[in-house]
Amino acid sequence: MKVYLDYNATTPVDPAVLEAMLPYFRERFGNAASRSHAFGWEAEAAVKRAREQVAELIHAQPEDILFTSGATEGNNLALKGAAAMYAEQGKHIITQVTEHKAVLDPCKYLEQKGYRVTFLPVDSTGRIDLAQLAEAIKPDTILVSIMHGNNEIGTLQPIADIGRLCKERGVLFHTDCCQTFGKVPIDVQALGIDLLTCSGHKIYGPKGVGAVYVRRTRPRVRLEPLLHGGGHERGMRSGTLNVPGIVGLGAAAEIAGRQMATEGPRVAALRDRLRDGLLAQLDHVTVNGHATERIPTNLNVSFAFVEGESLMMGMDDIAVSSGSACTSASLEPSYVLRALGVSDDLAHSSIRFSLGRFTTEAEIDYTIERVVAAVRRLREMSPLYEMVQEGVDLKAVQWQPH
């Protein structure tokens, strides 16, 4: 059996989504900006429909939606676009330390360009402290960017409270919703969201397409474009629209919206089954992130005394990811787990399981079996596990870091 449990990284395109896209590669290939003939009108109508489908999922108006090449572009556009547009009002931005790199790196870029950025810390569950946020907002603060659900540990930030606070203080609120769009209810009105980023390939749509919600009333948010050209997407994102991709994103959003009420609890139950199965059979296992405030698809676990990459080798028919340094280009363990105060050895021992639409109970049971066997085998081989069995306090040992 081959099991895919890396749905937080990407998802397969839903067959119905692919079907919806195909005509827009073939007979309906028109440019949505061609106003003079039926080919263009057809494409434009399809984009309009997709805009409605995306908007509906977050309780926005279709005109509030801009299409992008994906969430990295969306986050860059929201952050750099707002920073440039509102620079005269102030040059201070607030974000937090466990954001995706597509938020952190634009923020660091803006720091180099003379902006001041506050990176709020998180508690041991991965949540920011609202009082700290309130204190961080200064007269020159123009934007707060806090993600909804974390991609590594699944923790949900209290975005309703953050949105309310931002409204009270007259600061724009951007939220990266890649991991929650289509999985958790989002209402941009009720949550006080001004800018929101989402992506197609996390919700069974195609890669290479995403969207940004840009509020048009109370307040009317404007963004300086990253790409200049034909003035597409209200002038904020020039470039011929990726019509098949946009159609796919729209179709994927509609399916996700329709299934959310049943799919969320189904996946959460499987996630809990996985967690309970692992905890019942193995000792020295810790769940990372928040116990309840988390996206239904994510389980992040540290298996002490076993290194993550070797664990993944030991269950190579299960596709997961790890916070171990060995799996990253930087040779540093996960910055997200570190931010939670998880010790480096446990960060090296962490595995992210992320479930999705096609995950079955049989797959979860098989995964539990494989993980338990691999962890036990590697612990038999682990000098740390042996030392702990002998009663050695690992913290008291004089190690030789290299």
Partner: protein, 144 residues
């Protein structure tokens, strides 16, 4: 990243996993690395009367390449004298396992583990000799 056959073979069938009696006078134990770095190797050697390594065991916390490097190290030290064992270099391990550049530190750690085990054995002996010297009666002055 995909693993090559040799690493996979050592990972699937590690040679000489286990523990020797740490307190035995003819056993040397080397523990190198640190949990926070993501790898810790314990390598033990047992020598005969002629100081030839007759047995070796390891336990490793680390990635597949770290496990393979230490497994290979135990294979290679067996049958060697202490001086011959010290000739094993990390570069030999890199070559044998075709380790990629990001995994070279695993081979360094394995070399360090061999050296640490030998050093432990020698330190144990030195300590025992010192103890024996202290316990033995002082040599009698010659009467002639």
């Amino acid at each position: 990243m995909p693993y090559n056959e040799k690493i996979l073979d050592h990972y699937e069938h590690p040679r000489n996993v286990g523990t020797l009696d740490r307190a035995a006078p003819n056993v040397g134990t080397g523990i190198v690395g640190a949990p926070e770095c993501g790898d810790v190797m314990k390598l033990q050697i047992m020598v005969d009367e002629q100081d030839r390594i007759v047995d070796a065991k390891f336990k490793t916390f680390g990635c597949g390449s770290a496990i393979a490097s230490s497994s290979l190290a135990t294979e290679w030290v067996k049958g060697r004298s202490l001086d011959e064992a010290l000739e094993i270099s990390n570069e030999d391990i890199v070559r044998e396992l075709a380790l990629p550049p990001v995994k070279i530190h695993c081979s360094v750690l394995a070399e360090d583990a061999i050296r640490a085990a030998i050093a432990d054995l020698k330190a144990k002996r030195a300590a025992r000799r010192a103890e024996a010297a202290a316990a033995a009666p002082a040599p009698q002055p010659s009467s002639t």
